[in-house]
Amino acid sequence: MSKHDDDTFIEMKGIGKQYGGVTALEDVDFRVKSGEAICLAGENGSGKSTLIKILVGVEQPTSGQIFIDGKSYNHLNPRQAAAVGISVIFQDFSLFSNLTVAENIAFATHLSEKKRLFDRSATRRIAQEALDRIGVEIDLDARVETIPVAHKQLVAICRGLASNARLIIMDEPTTALTGREVQALLRIIRKLKDSGIAVVFVSHKLAEVLEVCEEVFVLRNGTNVADGPACDFDAASLTRHMTGRNISEAKPPLNIDQAKNLLVVDQLGKLGAFEDIDFELKEGEVLGISGVLGSGRTALAKALFGLVAPDRGSIALSGKNVALGNPIAATQAGIGYVPEDRLTEGLFLTQSIIRNVSVGRFDHHRSGGFLDLASLVNEARGWIEKLRIKAPDFEAEVKSLSGGNQQRVALARWLSQAPRVLVLNGPSVGVDVGSKADIHAIIRELAESGIGIVVISDDLPELLATCGRILMMKDGRIDSIVMAEETNEIELAAKLAS
């Protein structure tokens, strides 16, 4: 059936995947050769995680075929994928933090050998061999929770090696690493390639790993929009292919110098999460907060809305202190929060779009103890139209909507409550490119109407496109404040990684 080159390990042909009515992947061809590194690039929602899930057997494709060593499969299951040597390292590494380094590395091997008894010396031997192969030294008996992030990643790589991986897929491998650690990782990747192991990097920030890659493969909206030798790509062309346009989201110059301070955060701290957080937010300002995972940005965002109770410090809105650690008080004061994870935190998936939009307004549409349903629905419809939420039926469950429309529902809920400060945590995570630009436009519109907006994100283009100032967080502190006009993506990325 397919032409099988000697060094082709995996070939996916005409892969398509539909979730309900949504097409996640359409007619995608993807090939991995032994010993080569591939950049699988694409924005959030482009379909790259779906492709990986199909490759590791977690999801079944709706069309297409997969060839492994020339053998054809309609779909894989996770056991088959592991058996042929496909290993994935997720962003959180999926390690057992209470077990030792050696136990974590040897775990998968033990499983596949169906050993019932724990053999300490074999465990150490397997782990040592794997570490030797990439030439690093890590204390075998250290518990994984005590070792640095970069070492955890290496442990995850070794776990793949110990179970005879032929392909290691790394999801967002550089997100949590410093610049020096990235270089160390690249050296290890070269070693892996020399020993015939293929590597796929999955990321929306690939400039850093481009130098060790042979091939680049770009997905956008579920289709393959560009592929070819890595030498033909640079950071700029990669971004262009990923976004599909030279997104000129030039923001209108907002004159906020004269504006009044809206939100003043003073000496806010919470043990183990963040400390000494001071900043002001002016009316009409869009303030960015960024930092790597674990920098405290999400805890800070939640603290602004009362979901995390700080130990000390204060938050004042227009000079009045807001009670800390109480979302209801925060809402009443006029602070809104759109969470990072729409599906579990943001939306009532099985409830109607109307209900999801109007949930914060029930108490405002009362007549004699009962809800005035007509006025409630009217108001919600107004917001649905204003935010151009596309749905055939507003009584439909909100989970039937696409990511972009779901995010607009989450926004509409807060906008209907006329907030004075809106905290948006990852406002465009998992939405398609078109919706993303729309959401950015909505953010700018809201700012123009005088709302103060805090955008928490690690999506640098997004921060640059929407924010005036960006607070860079590191180890729970504000490391620096960057003016978006005076920087660019590369500088910002370097700051983030430093």
Binding site: T331, T344, E345, T350, Q351, F370, L373, A374, V377, E395
Partner: protein
């Protein structure tokens, strides 16, 4: 202009299927035993029988809507019945008549509702403030309530009420049994609460996704406490009906009603994970169970076979409804 996604009357709603089941059971029983099942005597007798456990099923419904459960309903019903029975026996006495008896009945009823509300408040605090799983909190509190009732009575039945007490459970107004009137009023009230008030919608949405309710700044503590207080009040009214029909109160009456109330709520299409439930479905489930139970009684089917048939009915309805539930389950655990 309806606000409810799932109210559309099509074949996929649990209520529609239940309506069909209720009708099928009714017609089958009528056909098998037409002169007895359709006799006015039987119809009236059925209307006296089901309200007491149907009211408990309403209490179960509102707690299940939030993804919780109230296993203390029978305990609350018996505790409140014992307390009002003691008031009636000790202050009014069996010989009381006229205004005096009526006033004491009113006082006893008011105390029962108050105790029911306090019991619900206790459950609500355990679940909302202290964060205990509802199934364990109410299992424990139910034992406590029953235990208090046992301690107050020494385990024996309290009897010797004024005659007027029997009116609640045994009288008819324009041929309609009073317990049925009480049930219809409570069911209508619960329907209005769940569909037409801010509290009802918030309770439903909390059941659909508790975390999202937190992020949407719903006052979850207040919400849950109100849910369990309403459950307690409904249980106490069921306790009054049971007391009146039995003309006595005892700490361990109606012990089979707890399971029955859970079964009816689930049969009635209430999603045990929370987020969906209609009072109409619960009413239809009650009717189906009662038709089946009375019909089998007339056909002189043994009690053992009757339980088998009830169980089979429950499993059948759950299998039919499973298509919907598996999606709810996934939505909750899949991410």
């Amino acid at each position: 202009m309806t606000l409810h996604l799932l109210t559309k009357q099509n074949a996929s709603t649990p209520e529609f299927r239940l309506a069909i089941i209720a009708i099928v059971v009714f017609i089958t029983m009528s056909a098998l035993s037409p002169d007895r099942f359709l006799s006015s005597q039987n119809i009236v007798s059925m209307a006296f029988q089901f309200p007491e456990f149907a009211i408990l099923a309403l209490a179960m419904t509102i707690t299940m809507m939030t993804g919780g459960i109230d296993l203390s309903v029978v305990g609350v019903a018996n505790l409140t019945a014992v307390i009002s029975a003691l008031i009636l026996v000790n202050f009014a006495g069996a010989d009381a008549t006229g205004m005096v008896a009526l006033l004491w009945l009113f006082a006893a009823f008011a105390s029962a509702v108050l105790v029911g509300a306090l019991s619900g408040l206790f459950n609500g605090i355990l679940v909302a403030r202290l964060g205990l799983p509802p199934i364990l909190a109410t299992l424990g509190s139910g034992l406590v309530f029953t235990g208090i009732a046992v301690a107050m009575t020494g385990g024996s039945a309290v009897m010797g009420f004024p005659d007027v007490v029997a009116w609640i459970g045994n009288a008819q107004v324009l041929l309609v049994p009073v317990p049925l009137i009480i049930f219809v009023l409570l069911a209508a009230a619960l329907h209005v609460i769940l569909t037409k008030t801010s509290f009802g919608l918030q309770a439903t949405m909390y059941g659909a996704n508790p975390l999202a309710a937190l992020f949407a700044a719903i006052d979850i503590n207040k919400l849950l406490i109100r849910v369990y207080v309403i459950s307690g009040v409904l249980s106490s009214i069921a306790g009054m009906v049971i007391m009146s029909r039995a003309n006595s109160a005892k700490a361990d009456y109606g012990s089979s009603y707890l399971l029955l109330a859970v079964l009816i709520a689930v049969l009635g299409g209430v999603n045990p994970y929370g987020g969906y439930g209609r009072v109409m479905g619960v009413v239809l489930a009650v009717l189906s169970m009662q038709f089946l139970s009375s019909g089998l009684n007339m056909l002189q089917v043994s009690n053992f076979a009757r339980e088998l048939i009830w169980g089979a009915l429950l499993i059948f309805v759950m299998v039919v409804n499973t298509a919907d539930w598996s999606r709810f389950g996934k939505a909750k655990s899949g991410y």
